[in-house]
């Protein structure tokens, strides 16, 4: 009768063998209660520091920023009513209902930025998936130095995006950029091109640079997926005379579906949230031609210090992101439950 198994709190509460007398059963019950309590305290002690920090730095700001999006925030006058949570005195400013949201929604700049963001995200996702998959297919082949090549994947991804921006500003510069230099040497252009003076070009350049930074991540996920495809499938297809494209379409892509969903979900959300590259490369310009919703929200809050409308803009974005994550999640779940 060794029901007292300290490693498995779930098992401790199993009913005892009926042969045991009531006194013995009470003894067990007490012993188990003590064990469960100390187990619980141990678990609580382990998780509480992390939970406390997350509560203070994520959940409190989340609730507070929902409030701010419905308030008229005057940073210079934090007086008026305030509430104290966890010893933090938070000014509540003045509640003004949906005014921030209606102001944002009636601003044509917001809708232009949203449209631009959708273009940015769509193109970014397509390019990241296509280039990520192409690189994965190349790196999945057998060749000398494959390990080194896979290590190289981490270089664009592990650079800070500030460094990525600086790097590509230099590559694309109209006076000394390497791209111009190479095109000039090859005789393809007779004078250096400017990549940032036209708004639409600048937006597309931002997409390519972000793809350079992020596609290797997709490649890493695709490579993990490719390794789990049984080779027999390809052998059988070769015997049947299938070529590269047929194998890609009928074997590789269907097998990669879970990874594909993951890459799509992550790329979509990352695309919506991209901020630091815009900060270093274009600051939303020329004009507002590279202003996405994230940038608009950031600038409204921290360049013009309009926290109310700024958080309102950022919340519309958050809703889009959470909704997309949930939809992707549902799609993935339903796909894999039906299979």
């Amino acid at each position: 009768m060794t029901a007292l198994d300290p490693g498995r709190p779930g098992l401790v509460l199993q009913p005892q063998a009926s042969a045991a007398g009531p006194a013995r059963r009470r003894w067990f019950a007490r012993k188990q209660r003590v064990a469960v309590q100390s187990e619980g305290r141990f678990a609580a002690a382990l998780v509480s520091p992390a939970l406390l920090v997350i509560l203070l730095i994520v959940f409190l700001p989340l609730v507070y920023s929902v409030w701010l999006s419905f308030a008229e925030v005057d940073l210079l006058r934090p007086g008026g009513t305030a509430i104290t949570i966890f010893g933090v005195r938070l000014p509540l400013y003045r509640f003004n209902g949906l005014a921030n949201y209606s102001k944002v929604m009636s601003d044509p700049l917001y809708w232009q930025a949203l449209l631009r963001t959708v273009y940015f995200v769509a193109l970014f996702v397509i390019e990241a998936v296509v280039i990520g998959l192409a690189m994965a297919l190349v790196l999945n082949a057998r060749f000398a130095g494959r390990g080194l090549m896979r290590a190289m994947l981490l270089v664009p991804w592990s650079m800070s995006r500030i460094a990525v921006g600086i790097l590509w500003l230099g590559m694309l510069d109209a006076d000394f950029g390497a791209i111009n230099g190479i095109l000039y040497r090859l005789g393809l252009i007779d004078r250096y091109l400017s990549f940032f003076s036209d708004g639409f070009t600048a937006l597309n350049v931002l997409i390519v640079v972000y793809v350079w930074n992020q596609a290797p991540f997709a490649t890493i996920l695709f490579l993990a997926g490719l390794q789990s495809i049984p080779q027999d499938l390809y052998h059988a297809a070769s015997v049947d005379g299938a070529g590269f494209w047929r194998k890609l379409w009928h074997i590789t892509l269907p097998s990669l579906r879970p990874m594909m969903f993951l890459v799509l979900a992550l790329a979509t959300v990352n695309g919506f949230l991209m901020l630091d590259l815009i900060y270093v490369m274009t600051s939303g310009g020329p004009g507002n031609d590279t202003t996405t919703v994230t940038w608009l929200g950031y600038r409204t809050a921290f360049s013009f210090f309009k926290f109310g409308p700024g958080t309102a803009i950022l919340f519309t974005l958050t809703l889009i992101c959470v909704a997309l994550t949930v939809i992707y999640h549902r799609l993935v779940l339903s796909k894999f439950q039906s299979e």
Binding site: P6, P9, G10, S38, E39, G40, F42, A43, V47, P49, A50, L51, I54, I57, V58, F59, L60, P61, L62, Y64, S65, L68, V88, M135, A141, F143, M149, L153, L154, V155, P156, S158, M159, S160, R161, I162, A163, I166, L167, L169, G170, D175, F176, Y184, F217, L221, A224, V269, F272, D276, Y279, G297, Y298, A301, F307, T311, L314, T318, V322, T325
Partner: protein, 292 residues
């Protein structure tokens, strides 16, 4: 043996094609990175020369000497912030990584081993925070940090980074601890170890790969973080490397070659770490990306 030669000949082109593609991928992945380094050891007038030299005629580390304050130059006080920011980046990143390994591993272990409704709810709450964009929290966090007096302090930055990295660490380590059989701790408990001793003396010593994956991942995230440091620590001398380097771009009188040196300096620690711990990074990435 003409048939063998013919077959080899037929196979030569696909192989050449493959290596061509590999070279293309390599150029795309690290060509730009190398170019940043080449720019950083060039002189500005060599960068401006036409036709552009593919390798600088006078390579030198003078741009690095400039940003480290070793030589005087016309824009030296714009770049004087690099060294203090580098110090701040090192301090913040190392503390956050250490806290993640200590506190994150404890929490990850608890989530791997204890089933209880409260544990389940809090785990979902932690996973939920990963769906939240950090930027939406920034205005509120700015005000909260101001009220706490933690604005423009390294402690405030450490606190903020911990809350954004704990969910990743907990998730990576929870998955790792779940692969370790319970029997190991159970026999330690039978031998008279306490719960904590069983975790610290039995489980942690064999969890090296998981801890390295979580630690390296945290390091890279924190080292590269820009937005939070830019918003919370805007005062000179209190911020980290990314905002400082980004701030140099706005200055008209700094040569690109000097900025390239700063950019390369800010990138290299995370890149080297990622390459050294390549295998663990990939594990962390794949585990960290799979949302609940």
């Amino acid at each position: 043996m003409p048939t063998v030669i013919a077959r080899n000949h037929r196979k030569l082109w696909p192989v050449l094609g493959l290596y061509g593609l590999v070279a293309l991928v390599a150029l795309w992945l690290i060509g730009p990175f190398l170019w940043l380094f080449i720019s950083s050891i060039s002189e500005q007038r060599d960068l401006l020369a036409r036709p552009m030299p593919l390798f600088p005629p006078n390579p030198s580390f003078s741009n690095y000497a400039k940003i480290f304050g070793l030589v005087e130059f016309h824009a030296q006080h714009q770049s004087a912030q690099i060294l203090p920011s580098l110090g701040n980046s090192v301090v913040v990143t190392l503390i956050v990584t250490a806290l993640n390994i200590v506190l994150g591993s404890g929490a990850g272990y608890a989530y791997a081993r204890f089933q209880h409704p409260v544990m389940k709810i809090t785990l979902y709450a932690i996973l939920f925070t990963r769906m939240l964009p950090v930027v939406v929290l920034m205005p509120a966090l700015f005000l909260i940090m101001r009220q706490l007096g933690l604005q423009n302090t390294l402690s405030g930055l450490v606190l903020a980074y911990c809350s954004f990295t704990f969910p990743f660490t907990i998730w990576i380590l929870k998955s790792y601890f779940e692969t370790i059989p319970r029997e190991l701790e159970e026999s330690a408990l039978v031998d008279g170890c306490s719960r904590l001793q069983a975790f610290v003396k039995v489980i942690l010593p064999i969890s090296g790969p998981g801890l390295v994956a979580a630690g390296a991942f945290t390091f890279v995230l924190c080292w590269n973080e820009f937005l939070v440091a830019q918003v919370l620590n805007s005062k000179q001398g209190t911020t980290t490397l990314p905002p400082t380097v980004a701030g140099m771009l706005g200055q008209a009188n700094i040569d690109y070659s000097v900025i390239a040196a700063s950019g390369f300096l800010s990138a290299i620690p995370a890149v080297i770490l990622a390459l050294v711990f390549q295998r663990y990074m990939v594990q962390g990435l794949t585990a960290g990306s799979v949302k609940g």
